[in-house]
Chain length 434, copies 2
């Protein structure tokens, strides 16, 4: 067996600790698996003295991740700090120094992935990022290798466990948004400041990573239309179910004739859709391609174990390649500036909930506004408002129409007297092909 | 770009034709993807003159697969004939001649996979078989690479589309076994002689392949306990549903303290289990491991498109490696003779349906036999027999107990006078951990 390979860990939080444990517990097995002994040389932590108990077997603890990332005796840098800075700088420094990098960082991969991958290729090293999307679900590897014969037409995913947990609580147990959030925070599924999850920022990062890979095109989170779940009410789930739908926070990337359609927002999906049965903190990714048809991968999207599964598999793959003296496989060329579809032109049916005055004529007034924009109504339900006696809840679903037409309908209804308040607007997953 | 690589196709049936079409239609894209031009040099067909229209671009048609498999100008042999012979001989000849092989052949991989893989390793070439299990579902790749950091504890799968289609028809539409079979045959989902599917032979081949890979141990189809679906009746589905279960033809491979537990048989699965929502010809594979928890992959298990997706991905991967002049990655060592669990000692709850005489005392008699073998009854349902007036249907479910105890109960009930006929015995997927 050849000389050992040095591992440098950046971050020993939940995931870093899990990776450290796995590497130590399975050292023998991993050595025979990849052909080299993997030696943990150094780890960057915030507070060295507080973590000193971990410094066994020659592991050096440092408070300086940039230093660990460029150590002479480190061959593979494992970045598990998260967030943009200093992780991004450390990854760049490691790649520039000729070290391969394994990361779980969705933000860096979303914002700087293509540039980092190009740098890795120039330096003849690898940047691996399976753990950055979907935890242990092997979606990156599957898109890169197993589906490489396909022309991928779409990727649909539930890739944020926090919002899916909250949505399941609202849907199954009738919890309000606020109660579902408190519940999630209590269980550690949501942060004290939950914005990254509930506003879809996390999901948009991950969709950008998936879309870049699936369509061989450079897209970033700013290219993803993003809406969070803050406006969902428990009763929307019951209405959706009566109409034959579940509501899920869906990340969708599709090729259309108008360009790449990239969206993250709460979506009504048919009850028979595989996404409708994904509950709790589970994640799922559905890929459609010209040969495969549709394949779905489901599993735990976060957590020490699942994320370690992905990180360590990447480490073993890189180590195995290095052990056999091989060059990294050449990357696929990327379209640096793909055409992006205009959201206003996307053709999709819509679910709308309004608070309307409980008086004669409202239905006719609304109907006229919809008709004037050419939007065809599929269903209407009026029920008493849950709390305001003079109001009613009006739930309208439309047939597929341009998203911009719905914008115009809503603009015209605002302040019109026919609508007191627009409650929610949710796109439905029965979009026409365009 | 370097010299082209020669492809030799064995078989131009449904899948072979699909692969040929994909290779021709996407020749440019595939060339830039793997770094070499892939040239279709020869194809083996049964009737050369009947297929002569396919002989364009220099493609030589031959009636001799062994000849195509060993041609000088062929670098990668793609075996899509199926069945054991002559496919097995051709694969061996190709590997011996220093050619890499891509196959979709579950029977050869199940019966001779380990020996063939060892031959490939000795000759410094690859044997790739993603398409042999689960069509386009990338389970082989996921087990080999993405989950390599895990200690896999179990693989559960619905991997035969024919039986799942029939089961769905019986379950959802109340069809009898015979009508479901005729329906499947009419649609081309079942053969005129359906034995390979309905008796679980196909599923046992595939489970042997998955188990060998998941547990790094040489197992063959003869090591898989196998029961088909011929004894299922439409009313079993209703009874199961009332008890909170769906029935699926499940292939299960588990590590237990007693060794490897490998079984293919109709199984009651809880309605909330992902397998319970897999319907029609879809396949699904669920893998559990110490880090990943559980991941599920679903998709089309057969058909030209999905199978081509897997075959061509393997071709591109091999070609890409060859183009970069690299050696194949070293294979993991296999346990050549793993301990196999004894079915009689496996601990599992059971669903039983009997035809019993509709008279006093039967319940007490049966209860006494169960009790004497230490089998604890979980539920009992008696209903009038659907066709015989003097008889009743008796449906019993037991708590988890040794499979051998159920054998002994059934032996004692046979010819006892308490039971006219044993209708069906189905294991339930709530087995205790052993």
């Amino acid at each position: 067996m050849g000389e050992s390979l040095g591992i440098g860990l950046l971050g020993l939080g939940v995931v870093g600790g899990g990776v450290l444990d796995a590497l130590r517990a399975n050292a023998q097995a991993y050595e025979s698996r990849c052909g080299r002994r993997l030696e943990l040389r150094a780890a960057a932590v915030r507070n060295v003295s507080a973590r000193s108990a971990l410094a066994e077997d020659g592991l050096v603890l440092s408070a300086d991740p940039a230093d660990v990332a460029t150590r002479e005796d480190v061959d593979i840098v494992v970045e598990l700090i998260g967030g943009e800075s200093p992780a991004s700088e450390c990854i760049e420094a490691a790649l520039s120094a000729g070290k391969s990098v394994v990361t779980a960082n969705k933000e860096v991969m979303a914002k700087r992935g293509p540039a980092m991958l190009a740098l890795a290729e120039r330096r003849g090293v690898e940047l691996r990022y399976e753990a950055s999307v979907g935890g242990g679900i092997p979606i990156i590897g599957v898109l890169q290798r197993d589906l490489q014969a396909n022309d991928v037409s779409s990727v649909r995913a539930i890739i944020n466990g926090t919002t899916n947990y909250m949505i399941t609580a609202m849907s199954r147990d009738g919890l309000s948004y606020d109660d579902a959030l408190r519940d999630a925070q209590r269980l550690g599924y949501a942060e004290a400041d939950p914005a990254s999850d509930v506003d879809g920022i996390d999901a948009a990062y991950k969709l950008a990573v998936l879309a870049s890979l699936a369509f061989h095109a450079t897209v970033g989170p700013e290219d993803v239309y993003r809406e969070g779940i803050r406006s969902l009410a428990a009763r929307d789930f019951g209405h959706a179910r009566n109409l034959g739908y579940a509501i899920r926070m869906l990340a969708t990337a599709r090729r259309t004739s108008g360009g790449l359609d990239l969206r993250v927002h709460p979506t009504l999906v048919p009850l028979a859709d595989p996404m409708a049965s994904v509950e709790g903190v589970l994640n799922a990714v559905s890929v459609s391609g010209d040969l495969i048809g549709t394949a779905v991968l489901e599993g735990a999207g976060a957590g020490a174990g699942p994320t370690s599964s992905a990180v360590v598999a990447d480490i073993l793959d890189v180590a195995g390649r290095m052990a056999s003296g091989q060059q990294p496989r050449k990357q696929r060329p990327m379209d640096p500036s793909p055409q992006l579809a205009s959201l206003a032109e996307i053709c999709v049916p819509t679910y709308l909930r309004f608070e309307v005055p409980d008086r004669a004529g409202v239905l006719a007034e609304l109907g006229a506004v919809f008709a004037s924009e050419g939007v065809s109504i599929a269903s209407v339900l009026q029920t008493p408002h849950p709390s305001r006696q003079q109001s009613a809840d009006l739930i309208v679903t439309t047939h597929a129409c341009q998203d911009g037409a719905i914008d115009r309908v809503l603009q015209r209804l605002e302040g019109s007297g026919s609508v007191i308040e627009q409650g929610v607007r949710l796109r439905i997953e029965d979009g026409c092909d365009d």
